[in-house]
């Protein structure tokens, strides 16, 4: 298992995480159904506006699913930032992970590692976290 993703999208997510600091940022990446190629970045508003929690607004969430359906796409990646801790799923992330087919990407804006960045990907299925390789393409 691995996540293949473009440098452009990685950079855009890291920039979003810095722009929204100290709040957590979040979003999704859509790709053609069955392709496992996350191509279309959809930054979302963190309705919780919080440094320790994120949530897609329920109305935006439905719109995202509808848009994906209309374009024969699916939600391949769900991402969010951790502001002060490592880019690893928290207990809350695991408890609420509702998309067993998605790559869960975490980035961290924690200062201890600046200017280095963390960009990691996981599967979260039935409460079990499995890290996967991230392959960044040009």
């Amino acid at each position: 298992m691995a996540l293949e993703i473009s440098q452009q999208i990685v950079d855009a997510i890291l920039e979003q995480s810095r722009n929204e600091y100290p709040d957590e940022c979040c979003g999704a990446i859509l790709g053609p159904v069955g392709s496992d190629k996350p191509l279309r970045l959809k930054p979302m508003i963190n309705a919780a506006h919080s440094p320790t929690f994120y949530e897609f607004d329920p109305k935006d969430l439905l719109a995202l699913y509808r848009e994906a359906d209309d374009n024969d796409e699916e939600i391949l990646v769900i991402y969010h930032s951790h502001t002060e801790t490592e880019a690893f799923p928290s207990r809350t992330d695991i408890a609420y992970a509702g998309e067993p087919g998605a790559h869960y990407v975490l980035v961290s804006t924690r200062k201890q590692i600046a200017p280095a960045t963390e960009f990691r990907s996981f599967r979260i299925v039935d409460g079990v976290v499995t890290e996967e390789e991230v392959s960044i393409t040009e």
Partner: protein
Amino acid sequence: MSIEVRIPTILRPYTKDQKAVTAEGANLSSVISNLDSQYAGLGERLLENGSLRRFINIYVNDEDVRFLGGLDAQVKDGDSITILPAVAGG
């Protein structure tokens, strides 16, 4: 009364992998009871202590049921219900 209910991936083990099922009822509460009678265990994934779960979103014809009276939300023949797990975490 026939209501289409769209089931998210994570709950499809309850519906034999069906993406959409049909249910009956005049309001959301009775639709959920009807769903649970057809697909045992599904109701508990939607309700907690008799209330809608905080991190499950249910929509009637694209409107969040939280703005339609929650479990009392009225539904009628031909309506479509969509269930989506919240995308949330810490």
